[in-house]
């Protein structure tokens, strides 16, 4: 079973990478880009077939390690059973 954790910077947290990417896109001549934010996506291959249990596990992983709640929020998707 595969779980996907999407980790984003909370709004209000300055995102240097997103900012630099936006500038670079503008420099390349792309117009109409109002904002860029960069986050992480973590794909986890899990044993087991119980989607509910998997979500709980992954939630604990996110809290314990994958995301830093001071600056980040996260979202979990479980798929492919």
């Amino acid at each position: 079973m595969k779980a996907v954790v999407k980790i984003r910077l909370k709004s209000g947290v300055l995102d240097p990478q997103g900012k630099a990417t936006q500038n670079a896109l503008e420099a390349l001549g792309f117009s109409g880009v109002n904002g860029v934010r960069q986050g992480k996506i973590i794909e986890i291959e899990l044993e087991g077939t119980d989607a509910g249990a998997a979500r709980e596990d992954v939630d604990r992983m996110a809290q314990a390690l994958l995301a830093n709640s001071v600056i980040e929020s996260y979202e979990i998707e479980i798929d492919g059973q």
Partner: protein, 229 residues
């Protein structure tokens, strides 16, 4: 003073920190491996710089979950002085001994150079030997030194005098041009509320030898040695 240096996979300023401590105290610190569940009985804990676990995922995040960090956390709460340098600062934020987080430098580049710093408070065991308002020069060498905390936390840090090191210009002014990494309020180092836990991005341990980078870091170690004698 008895000191311990915590060593993680990927620590790489552990020897430099140990050398600085040995030089000032006359005896080598205990080197404590991250998987240990026990801290020796020490007066000072140093978390050195480096790229623990490659700084993969998020700087300091994986080191913060190491078994030894539970002990360090408890010691820090008990009032044992804890010094986190560079990656050590990042780890202390991740363990929540210190507030905030360290993000990618605004330039996105790794930066290695000397910076001008103002010592904003001498009311910590780390800065007690510096004159009030001292201006010092220390090297920085990091990719993620951009300190972030929300408005409320920042106000608390400033209000409680917990900003210990700040990037300033030669005249001691906090100006944007003196900020190497985009850090909020030009913050280079902060303490916990009790003042016994300090995290800073600059490397005082690289500034104790006139042959290699000045001696402005000397007073930090000497001050600790005196305070913890």
């Amino acid at each position: 003073m008895k000191a311990a240096v915590i060593v993680f996979p990927g620590s790489n300023c552990d020897r430099d920190a140990a050398d600085a401590l040995t030089w000032v105290t006359g005896r080598p610190p205990a080197m404590v491996w991250h998987t240990s569940n026990e801290l020796p009985n020490v007066d000072l804990i140093v978390i050195p710089g480096g790229f623990t676990h490659g700084d993969y995922l998020r700087v300091g995040a994986m080191a913060a979950t190491a078994p030894i960090m539970g002990e360090v956390f408890r010691a820090g709460i008990r009032g044992v002085p804890v010094l986190g340098i560079c990656n050590g600062f990042q780890i202390l934020c991740e363990t929540r001994l210190l507030p905030g987080a360290l993000m990618r430098n605004a330039s996105l580049n790794f930066i290695c150079r000397e910076v001008n710093l103002k010592i904003e408070t001498t009311a910590t065991p780390f800065t007690r030997s510096y004159p009030d308002g001292a201006l010092v020069r220390l090297p920085i060498a990091h990719h993620d030194g951009n300190f972030f905390a929300d408005e409320e936390t920042l106000n608390r840090l400033e209000g409680e005098g917990r900003v210990v090191f700040r990037y300033v210009d030669k005249a001691g002014k906090r100006v944007p041009a003196a900020n190497p990494n985009g850090s909020r309020n030009n913050i280079a180092g902060i303490a916990n509320a009790a003042g016994n836990v300090l995290g800073l991005m600059p490397h005082p341990e690289r500034a104790i030898d006139p042959a290699t980078g000045g001696t402005d870091g000397t007073a930090l170690f000497a001050g600790l040695h005196e305070a913890l004698r």
